[in-house]
Amino acid sequence: MYSQGLIGAGSDNTETPEFLTAFQARIDADEKIEPNDPMPAAYRKTLIRQIGQHAHSEIVGMLPESNWITRAPTLRRKVALLAKVQDEGGHGLYLYSAAETLGVSRKEMTEELISGRAKYSSIFNYPTQTWADIGAIGWLVDGAAIMNQVPLCRCSYGPYARAMIRVCKEESFHQRQGYEIMFTLAEGSAAQKDMAQDALNRWWWPSLMMFGPPDGDSLHSDQSTLWKIKRFSNDELRQKFVDATVPQALRLGLTLPDEALAWNEAEGRYDYGEIDWDEFWSVVKGHGPLNKDRVAVRKKAWDDGAWVREAALAYARKRAARAATPLVAE
């Protein structure tokens, strides 16, 4: 999106108080900010970080699920899972191109990911041990992602908001696909129901962690809220997710792995137990079950594809050169 001229360009707006006030006034008036508009360097940097991490999450998010494509129990499940994983790849691409409008190159973002410097959603560092995990991911992980993403459709940065509208339209199939898998297992044999319960036990808490640290500890929230990049706090979104998901779990006849979970009549919401934030920070810092494996797989894919990229560019250059010099016989 018209970004090439920007790549490598300094974001050296002279950030006078007048400039910052005028920018905030545009945000407060619900104006969208578009790629070449003047913007504070910190706004640009925040968005590059957030959209980049979001894109990486989509791309790494393909790995736990693609693990089961060849082992899906029926052809119907297999085509659905293939389509879902393909969507995640597409979502990564929409987001990378939104980030590129801010002046970061695709290559820089790829290098950050395969060097292990970039962050992505910590949930994808957990393994998919059984087929029921595919159900739990679609239902819970995509469900949590939708909760996070719907408000981003109104984000102040135009290209990010537009990318999120496409993503949200496509995600609801993912969640229904996952819930259907869980429902079928829960209605099946005792062993199948146990498998569904086991997946729920393992994915429930990491799904709650997807909303990020509690409001008091979140580093980037306040400024992002002022800039209307973020519309709800981590804890608000987490609560919405719990309230939407508990009845769905009850319908499945499964038990959420939280003894403190209870309906709070006075507040009109579910109270839930303490989240293990030590586990969250440990996975974020690279010590989850599969952090190293996920990055290694992406790096291998990138390295193995080098000859393809090189050949495609060489072919394009050759054709362009031939088109520039017409044959004498013509």
Partner: protein, 96 residues
């Protein structure tokens, strides 16, 4: 390995159905026009979003500069006589 060159960026435009114009929907990287068209199909039309796709090298787009927005577009702001509501016509003439 010659990975120093960035694969070119393309802008993608899709006509959702006949009767509507092509509309910008995003961008992608591809080595040449043929690959750009195929990638645009895969990335932006997985659910029947379009009947026709255009891809254009991003570098070929000439755009107005947002810094020049005022001098580009201000001249049209004070020409209210270009709008139908500028003209007074008796109410009993009805809709015109």
């Amino acid at each position: 390995m010659n990975d120093t060159q960035e694969i070119p960026l393309w802008e993608v435009f899709i006509r959702p159905r006949n009767g509507l114009s092509h509309r910008h929907c995003g961008s992608l990287h591809a080595a040449d026009s043929e690959m750009a068209l195929q990638a645009a199909r895969d990335v932006y039309t997985r659910r029947g979003e379009g009947l026709s796709v255009w891809v254009i090298p991003s570098a070929q787009i000439v755009a107005s500069d947002p810094q020049d927005r005022d001098q580009m577009f201000d001249p049209s702001d004070d020409k209210i006589y270009r709008h139908p509501s500028f003209y007074d016509i008796p109410d009993d003439v009805g809709h015109m």
